[in-house]
Each structure stands twice: as structure tokens, then as C-alpha cells.
């Protein structure tokens, strides 16, 4: 979606302000919001692309005025409510008021380490051949889906070079919509700064994105 999350190349956000000796979390609630988000993945039954869509799918002004963990937490509430796992009256009351729904699995303390260590690899077997090879000139398609996509606006319509075939990976555009993993070939595509930004671009810079095959066409 062309939402507030798609920030590459936008102006007016001011300088980057690194915080000296920054703590991992700013306050107790960030810790709990982070941990709840991780722990609810399995019982909630959603995938990472659904989570990303739930985070970005809000008015851009709202997205930009929230802190990152506020966005995470708002997305967690949305996904829980959409699936009927929690109702607003329960959050308002601070207690469970309705019977729980059966869930697949709950994260136990004993499973934390191995669950994190396993992670969620996205590479999949395929019997198709990659359509592009390193060195090919490709154009990022002019796609504007209102749903989740990982093709940033700033590369759309521009010509780049296939640098590397990464492998066949879960396709977020499908996975975020519950339409299955639909694995697709994934490539690192390199663009010249001037191609992306014209005279405003740094002539010594190159930018790459990792783009799935359906995002690209031979130029």
C-alpha cells in the first residue's frame, strides 16, 4: 500500500538524531508490547507479512505520529480483535470477559530459546527456473496495490540491474492476505542514484532492493 510506512526519498523529516547510550527499551510498556507481539504470533495464527500490513494499514498522519512500539501494539490489538481472540470491552475492563478461543499453541518459557533460534526461514523449494540472471536490466513495475507489498515507491518505474539471484522465497503480497505463501524468485536489484533521483541523487551512490520476480520485467 502507498502508506505512511513507505518512506524512502520523502522529505521534511529532519536530521537523524542518534541517542547516546540508548537503552534497548524505553520504559516497561515497550518491553511488554514487544514480548506480547512475539509471543502471540503462534497462538494468534498470523504470519509476519500480516503483522507488517496491520502496522502500516492506518492513515499516514497517524503512522508518522506514533512511536514504533505504539504501532506494534496497535497492530497487535487489531489482529487480536479481527480474529475474535480479544474484544474491546475486555481491554477496557482489563480482564477476560468472554471464554477463550482454542489456539494452536502457547509459547512456554521452555520453548523460548529454541523458537527464537529456529526463527522463520522464508526460502522454499521450487521446480521453476528463475526468469532473470545477474547482469539483466530490469524495470521495477509500476504497481500500486492498496494491500501489502514490499516494492517501495521510489524504485517503481525505474531501471536497475539484477545483481544476485537470492533464491525462491515466500511472497509477502500473497502471504499478507492469507492467500498462501506463493513462493517466488527473489533478486537483489541495484539502481544508480541518478536513475532514482535525477540530479538530486548522489552520483557516487547506488541503492539496491530485494525484489520478487512479479515486481520486475525485462527492460
Amino acid at each position: 500500500m502507498n502508506g505512511g510506512q513507505d518512506l524512502g526519498g520523502t522529505h521534511g523529516h529532519g536530521p537523524v538524531k542518534p541517542e547516546l547510550n540508548e537503552p534497548v527499551f524505553h520504559g516497561e510498556w515497550e518491553k511488554r508490547a514487544f514480548a506480547l507481539t512475539l509471543a502471540m504470533g503462534m497462538p494468534g495464527g498470523w504470519n509476519i507479512d500480516m503483522s507488517r500490513f496491520a502496522r502500516e494499514n492506518r492513515p499516514p498522519g497517524e503512522y508518522l505520529s506514533m512511536t514504533y512500539y505504539q504501532i506494534w501494539f496497535a497492530a497487535l490489538e487489531t489482529m487480536l480483535k479481527e480474529r475474535g481472540l480479544v474484544a474491546e470491552d475486555e481491554i477496557a475492563a482489563g480482564h477476560s470477559l468472554h471464554p477463550p478461543k482454542p489456539v494452536k499453541r502457547v509459547l512456554s518459557p521452555g520453548d523460548v530459546e529454541k523458537t527464537l533460534h529456529r526463527g522463520g526461514p522464508t526460502e522454499r523449494e521450487t521446480n521453476t527456473a528463475a526468469a532473470f540472471k545477474p547482469g539483466d536490466k530490469v524495470r521495477a513495475k509500476n504497481l500500486n496495490p492498496p494491500t501489502h507489498t514490499r516494492l517501495p515507491r521510489y524504485v517503481r518505474g525505474h531501471i536497475g540491474t539484477i545483481e544476485r539471484i537470492i533464491g525462491c522465497h515466500v511472497f509477502p503480497d500473497s502471504n499478507a492476505m492469507g492467500a498462501g505463501e506463493n513462493p517466488q524468485w527473489l533478486y537483489t536489484v541495484r539502481f544508480d542514484g541518478h536513475e532514482l533521483w535525477g540530479d538530486e541523487g548522489d552520483p557516487t551512490s547506488k541503492v539496491s532492493v530485494d525484489a520478487w520476480e512479479p515486481y520486475l520485467e525485462l527492460a
Binding site: A35, P43, P109, T115, T122
Partner: protein
């Protein structure tokens, strides 16, 4: 994102109080329903506060500086090379190491969200997730580097890696001069978090002698 902008302290304060209350309320609801175990939440927090952080990545970089065969393995296929030292998993399932050279400086961003190699760097700092960095890294990388106090030679090529898929990038900075014969442990002290993102450079031997 307004983040922790102290100009808007009062505004943030009231909004944050409401968020704090809702987070607490939701945790209670989810616990009462049996969807989460609070002890597992504690462990998740402890993991990313105490165990997983940029010191992990510093060990990887120091080993690559000290051991040419490890360096070659890391640059060829970073995920197994990093797993050799014991770091793997969530948000680091597919890692690629990017070698800085006198001609080429690599810098990593996620313009669409906050993708970051957790097993080697821990959770990302606020600035990495913020609008200023995500918007400008791809358009004005030298301007962003200047915000970090870094100036590179004019002729150095800057390569920005936008983490738009599940590939996570770790910058292998150049080994500082004056470190011949140093142990991996000592070399690791020179490796900063920002030098592994590409927004900083490693410390020099003088910096840590102070």
C-alpha cells in the same frame, strides 16, 4: 515518528500513559485467557536486553578480521558462518555480509519498516526505525552520514541496501590500522554497532586507549 522528542513531552506523556494502561490491560486479558505465559514474556525481554546485541556482531567482525579463512566463509555465505559462533534465528534466518573497502562503503536501511539482523545486532535503535533515517538514507546517504559525524572521501562509492525482503545485512567494516597481532577479543572492542550498519566507522586503537 515523533519518537522521544522532548519538545512534545507533555503531549507524549498523556498518550504514553494511555498506551501503558492498555498494554497492561491486554497482557492481563491474554494471560487470563491462557494465550500467553508471563514467564515466557519475561524470558523474551531478558533475551534481547541481556543476551542478544551488537557484541554478538562484534565477535563475528573481529573473527573475520583476524582469520582470513573465516572472512572468506562469512563473505561467501554468512548465515552458516555466523551460526558457527552460535548466532542464528529470528530476523537473521538469511544473513548476507557486506565488505567495506577503500573504494566501497555499505550502509543498510529498511525504508518500509525496521528490518535489522537481530541475532548479530539485537533490536534496532529508535533512529534506525525513524522517519528521518528511513527517508533520507536512500536519497542523501552522505547527508545521513554527516548526521553521524562521518565524512567519506568524495570518490568512495556508497552502496545502500534497502532490506525489503527477509535477507538481513551485516556490514563488515575495514579493520583499523595499527592493530597488527591483536587478539579477536581486543579487536572486538573496536567494533561499534553503527559500523556494522554502515552509519559509523570502527574505533581506532587510540579511541580505546583513552
Amino acid at each position: 515518528m515523533s519518537g522521544h522528542d522532548h519538545d512534545h513531552h507533555d503531549h507524549d506523556h498523556s498518550e504514553l500513559s494511555e498506551t501503558q494502561l492498555r498494554v497492561r490491560a491486554l497482557e492481563t486479558v491474554l494471560t487470563e485467557k491462557g494465550y500467553v505465559d508471563p514467564a515466557a514474556l519475561d524470558l523474551l525481554i531478558e533475551t534481547y536486553e541481556k543476551k542478544v546485541g551488537p557484541r554478538n556482531g562484534a565477535r563475528v567482525v573481529a573473527k573475520a578480521w583476524a582469520d582470513p579463512t573465516y572472512r572468506a566463509r562469512l563473505l561467501k555465505d554468512a548465515t552458516p558462518a555466523i551460526a558457527e559462533i552460535g548466532y542464528a534465528g529470528r530476523q537473521g534466518e538469511h544473513i548476507v555480509a557486506l565488505e567495506n573497502t577503500p573504494q566501497l562503503h555499505n550502509m543498510v536501511v529498511c525504508t518500509l519498516c525496521s528490518c535489522y539482523p537481530w541475532p548479530v545486532l539485537g533490536l534496532p535503535p529508535v533512529w534506525y526505525k525513524s522517519a528521518p533515517y528511513r527517508s533520507r538514507a536512500v536519497l542523501d546517504p552522505r547527508g545521513v552520514l554527516a548526521d553521524f559525524g562521518v565524512t567519506l572521501p568524495k570518490e568512495t562509492e556508497i552502496r545502500i541496501w534497502d532490506s525489503t525482503a527477509e535477507i538481513r545485512y551485516l556490514v563488515l567494516p575495514m579493520r583499523p590500522s595499527g592493530t597488527d597481532g591483536w587478539s579477536e577479543e581486543k579487536l572486538a572492542e573496536l567494533v561499534t554497532r553503527d559500523s556494522m550498519i554502515g552509519t559509523g566507522l570502527p574505533k581506532s586503537p587510540k579511541d580505546i586507549a583513552k
